[in-house]
Structure formats: structure tokens, C-alpha cells
């Protein structure tokens, strides 16, 4: 079965957070940034410096990676975390979750959060195979693509860069001769 994954390009992200507001609206029924299941981590150097001290402005993406060997599922005392075979997502069974936060503590990415009102954890479950975040990303920074294609974007970029270097080197060597 085709396995699709979320991939993110920080150089394309415009930092508008529509992925997060769409996520919380779809999954929680209200709009918020804190209840979003994915988080865009902002580095806002530009806003914090004087005119002579420059710093970058860039955004990063943190959400559940849907690990093949998922630690969260291993540490869950009630076996509330199970893989959805159709989407490949690790999904929380809300009837079983006792809110112990073991998964939250052990997730290596900090991708699991706690909902104080519901007293349960929440995480990205890929919206049953149709991630809303991707639908609302207008800058094409977030994509939901087959896992085989996940490295392609970066690979093509690397190759293009290397090729440019090779061509330049070849040209200068030719000219040198």
C-alpha cells in the first residue's frame, strides 16, 4: 500500500500559520495556535535586532513523524496508540487514553501535546489521510507525498548545485589548458 508522508521546506514557508489554524479548526472545532497538532516554530531574528545587528527570519516544522517503530505506542500503558493501516498514522484511541502523558514525555520530537480541557493528549493523525494543513498551505512549503518521493526535492536541488559547480570547474580547467 502507498505510504504518504508530510514534508516541509523552510525556504518556501511564508510563516502565515494557516496550516495551524486550519488544523485546530478541523480537529478541535475552534481556531487556535496552541491546539494545532503541528507547530510552525518561528525564528524571528529580524524583529529582535538593531539595524546594525542582523539576524535571519525562518520557520521550521514540528509534527508527529509517524515513526515506523513508534516509542509513544511502546510506552503507552493502555495501548491507546495504534497505527491506522490505511493512512500509516499513529492514532490515539480516545476511549483508552488515560491522560498519563507518558507518550508526550518520550516523544523525541515534542510532537505530542496535552489538552487541559479534555485531559488527554493529542497529536497529528494525518486527518484520516487528507491533511488539512497541506490543503491550506499556499506557499507549497508543506506537501503530502509518497514516502519514496520524500527526498526527491532536496536531491534535485543538491544535484543542480553540484552540477553547476562541476560545469564551472570543467569550464575553468578547459580554459586553463
Amino acid at each position: 500500500m502507498e505510504r504518504k508522508v508530510l514534508v516541509f521546506d523552510p525556504y518556501l514557508c511564508s510563516g502565515c500559520m494557516y496550516c495551524m489554524t486550519a488544523c485546530s479548526t478541523f480537529n478541535e472545532g475552534s481556531t487556535s495556535l496552541s491546539k494545532a497538532r503541528l507547530q510552525i516554530i518561528r525564528h524571528e531574528g529580524h524583529a529582535l535586532t538593531r539595524i546594525d545587528q542582523e539576524d535571519d527570519l525562518i520557520f521550521l516544522f514540528v509534527a508527529c513523524q509517524q515513526c515506523e517503530d513508534a516509542i509513544c505506542s511502546g510506552v503507552c500503558p493502555t495501548s491507546a496508540l495504534k497505527r491506522d493501516v490505511a493512512t500509516g498514522a499513529m492514532v490515539i484511541n480516545r476511549d483508552k487514553c488515560v491522560g498519563c502523558r507518558m507518550c508526550l514525555m518520550n516523544c523525541p520530537f515534542g510532537a505530542i501535546s496535552f489538552n487541559l480541557r479534555k485531559k488527554q493528549v493529542f497529536k497529528c493523525e494525518l486527518c484520516s489521510g487528507d491533511p488539512q494543513c497541506v490543503k491550506f498551505c499556499q506557499s507549497q512549503a508543506l506537501k503530502f507525498i509518497p514516502v519514496e518521493e520524500a527526498p526527491l526535492g532536496k536531491r534535485v536541488w543538491t544535484a543542480a548545485k553540484a552540477l553547476k559547480g562541476l560545469l564551472e570547474k570543467g569550464r575553468s580547467e578547459k580554459e586553463g589548458r
Binding site: C16, G29, T31, S32, E44, T49, R50
Partner: protein, 664 residues
Amino acid sequence: MDIPRGYAGSVTVIDLTEQKAQIQPTDIFFREYGIDPRLWLGGDGVITKILWKDFPEPIDPLGPENEIIISTGPWTATAAPQAGRAMLGCIDTKTGGFGSGSFGWFFPSILKYSGVDVLIIRGKAQKPTYVFIDNGKVVFKDASHIWGKETGETVRMIRKELEEHYDGEIRVLSTSVAGEHLVKYSPPCSDGTSCPGRSGAGAVMGSKNLKAIAVRGTGEISLYDPSGLLESSSRAVKTFIEKEPMIKLWREQGATTSLGTAMDWPISGAMLVENRQEADFPHLKNVGCLNCPNPCYHWLQIKDGKYSGLRHLGGHMTFLTVCLRNLGIQDFSEWIYYERLMQELGLDPASFSMAYSWAVDCFERGILTLDDTDGITLKRGDSEIICEVARKIAYREGKLGNLLADGVAEASQKIGKGSEAIAPHVKGKEYIQRDVKIQALMWSLGALTSPRGGDWLRHHNVWELVFLPEKKDTYPKFIGKTCVEVYQESLKLLDMPDELKKNIFGDSQKMDMEWIRDTKGKALFSVWTENLVALFNSLVTCMFGSATMFLMVGFGPTTYSEILNKITGWNTTYEELMKVGDRVFNLQRLFNYRLKGWDYRNDTFGDKRAYEPAQIGIFKGKVVPWDEVLKEYYSIRGWSERGLPTKEKLRELQIEDLANGLEL
């Protein structure tokens, strides 16, 4: 008065004199102020109502009785597109009348997530203070050590002091040195990024000893129909991106798309386009406010030259156009440095550039001498002199700094000698161009009728500019279309009843260039546009996505009502929402009349050149018939010949009780 979904739920009123804060449920506050949310929405609508109740008499805008009012709206911080905006209102420091400005980045949404619909700040602190709103709870903090710091450093110090866990957890709206020195056109700045400009709110903050407002908010906004909201928003954004003729250019190049295209200034348009193509534009990517499908900020980096290494988030139209046209700065790096400097010092780039430009004119005519300018030879095009003068103004240094810090209207009154005749302002506020006639008619009409004095942002209809016949080689060629094609496409998509389109554009609706050079239909289109602007400023959402603004056929009232209904559960219509805009605009007019006595006599340009035949542009060789156009405008608005709303008009807008005791 029931408050529907989509509102955060409370109103915070802060008294700096007493160092006290009062937090009220929104419905109780709205009842006290007679605000029916469906009639006034939020943003400018709510600000106008608050100003109306709190200021029946004129005040000193820089006295403690002035207020800072930040109002979000039902649109803000929801999953609707472009939900990152709020309005900031006060009594305008330049005109003494109605003042407000739109701003974005993330302060407005985080304020709403902290539970606040409206924030009002009154009084004056005894010593420099900043206010921290932590998920609704208000804390007063000493700001003595931050006083005198520029924007970026202020933001950094406050965020560090409040120990934010991650970038952007705490949002800061601050005033800078120009605000502290009461420069009358100083705006505050939110996170060194977005400024509610044009009404001098930065100086109002300075006069209150209020350095900044910081906010942390992790709450949520409840919605009437979340999945419906997502569906409508997704459809609206998709249509926008697919159909809007300008969007592709915009998404590649951001707000500066407009340089050689939509906002092609007749005076130097061609040069701009060529420059734009040839310059190695140091653009890294576009960045936007909350939920923005067409982000306007450029993340810029200067690669070489004097400012090598400078990074800046900006690249906005106003800066570049005023830089080129008023200051004569041609170099892109210098322009970017100028924009950054304006933000750091807290100066309004439009008002500053007009003040500087006017001073150059006076200097060249001998009205200002070297003695008046503290020995500086004023001229255009030299960015070093310009930046030096900007710093002098921000710190009110010397004769020149003090003179220009009050803006052209006051400065020209002070020095006289014929300088008033070349002072470009309406009702005491500078407008953006040195000579209005070279601009299009609707644009200039907007400056005359704007509730905050000489201003272009309460109108900003670009239809004449985009379709200027001489521009057919510039704008459409970028998208591989002809001018006629784009015009017809846009006309079809424009969210306006057919009857109205007919009355504005004529029967044939074909590409009729004479329409652009004529006055026919312009007043009607202006009224529609002003109502639309007042509407999206009350929702609150962004002008860059709205019809007839930069993108010509962006979101219109149909989209607004569809999405607003999903947020609130109301059943508003196109007509109802346009009436909200009409109501807000009319009350602003009435407010200015009650406070300042402004009527038709004040709808005039301070600059005498506006009444002479134009040498270039749409009205080349002609005197623009301002009086005729204004007369038509008043009658379309349902105003009397004095330019004031009639009782019937106010009844139609359900605000006739507000006119009690007023002589209309």
C-alpha cells in the same frame, strides 16, 4: 445584545494614571457603548462608536485624556483568510479628529487568543511603563530602562525580560524614539514589522509614557460552523489564486509587484519598470501575517555596497514610491535602508517624505535658509542627508528637526512666506503625492473625503491606474495578456451588482479608455470603495486581499458575508455588509463634524497646485473639476450640500438617534 461566536469574549480597559485594569465581558461593554455587533462588527466600527461616546468635545491629542483603542473583529484570529489584522484608534494627533490605522503581523491574533476583543488604554503613567497582557491578566511593568530604545531593541528586551519560551510567544506593540519625542506622525510598530500608521498613535503612546504593550495568548476562538468555515475559506482562497489576474506576479514578487504595474506612477513609471527588471532584487522569500494566501512582506538581504549584509522584512509600496517620487532615492539598497530606518525610529514614511520634500521645495525657493536647516543643504536624492534629517526629526533636534516633526501643515503655518501654498495636506494631514493632479481622480478624491485627513488608504481604488492606456506595455505584458483582456476579465469578476457596474462603467462595459480620462461614474465607484474599505476595516481583514485594492478583484462583500456567517451563525448578505461600511463611514464623518465642525469647506487641498491645470497625467492641460465631483459624491452619499449626512440618511443607517442636538 448577544455576542455570537467568533468574538473572544472580553474587553480590557486600562487606566495608566491609576495603574488599574478592568476586564469586562464583551456583551456588557457593548451594551454600555450601544454597540450592536451586527451593526458595527469590530475594528473601525467599534473604534468609531467608542470615540463617539468618549469624545463629545475636542481634546489635546497629546494630553492624557486621549485613548489608545485596539479593536479586533469577528474575522480576526479565526481560520478565515487574512485573519491577522486589527485596528488601532485614537484622536488623530495631526487633525484632532478621527484617527485609526490597520495593522497585522501576529499581535492582533495573539491579543484575541488572550481573550481580548477590545483593548482601551487611558490616562498617563507617571514614569515610562509597559503593559503585559498575559492570557487576559494585566501586569504593569517599569520601562525606564527601555525608554529611548529603538524598535528592534525594544522588542528584544521585552521578549527577553518576559522570558518567552519560543519566538513569537509574546508579541510586542511598541513606540520608538519619535513617539517618545512626540513627533506628530509617529506610528507604533508591532514586532518591528507592522505599523498602524497615519494617525500618530506612536506619539499618543509616548505622551502617555507607554513604551509598549506586550501580549501572550494561548486560547482559542469558538466558531459557529468550523467545517463550513474551512470549506468557504478554502474555496475563496482557491478562486482568488486561480482567477485574480495579478496574483501570480504578486506571489512571486510581493507588494513591489505594483511598482511598475498597478501603481505605475505616470511621472516616472517607465523608469520604475526598467529599474525593477534590471536590479538584482535581493529577495529571499515572501512572508505574511496570519492565514495570508498572498503574503506582501519581502524578506530582503542586501548583498553588496554600503549596506551590505542588511536584512529587512518589508519592501512595501509606500516606502518605495515615496522614496522615488518625494525623496528622489533611486538606489534599491538605500531604499531598503530607508524603510528599515523609518521603522526603527518610528516615523511615518509618507508624512516624513512629504515633510522633507516640502522642506526641499521651501529651501530651493529661499523660504527656508541655512539658518533654519541648522546648516544642512536640503536636496533630494542624497540618502545620507535624508537619513540624517530623519534622525533629527525623531529626536526633535535643532530648528529643522523641531519644525518638520509637526508635519507640513503646522510647519507651513509657522514659517509662512508663501510656503502654505505648496504644503500638500488635507485637513492638516499630508497626502502621499506632491501634486495630486498627476494621480488618478478617484485616488485624489479619496484624500479629500478620508475621515482621517489627507490619506489614500481609506479609498485606494487602483482601477484608473491599472488601466491607464499608456501602460499597456507594462502591466499586462508581465502576465502575457493585453490591457483589454485584463480589464474585461476583472470587470466580470468584480463583486458588484450588474446595475451598479452599468452606472459606473457605462452600458457597453467594453474597454473604453475614455472612462479613465473622464469623471463619469468615478464618484459612485468612490463611494462603493470607501464603504468596502470601512467594511473590511471593521471585520477586520486586510486591504491587500480586497476588491479594487492592489489586487483588483480580490475578496468582495459576497465572500465576506459567506465566511462571516460561518464564523458567527448570522445570515448577513452583501447589502447588509455594505451597509455596515456605509454606517461606519457616515459616523466617522459625523464624528469629525461634531468634534471639529468639518464640512464641505474642509474637503479641500491645502496645496494650491491642485487647482491649477495639470502638466502631465490623466488631467493633462485641464483643471480637475473638484467641486463638481464632490457635489456628485455628496448627493450619492445622501449628504446635504454642506457635505453632511442628512437625517434621512442616518435613519436609513439606523443611527438617527446619534444626530440629536446636531445641526445638520
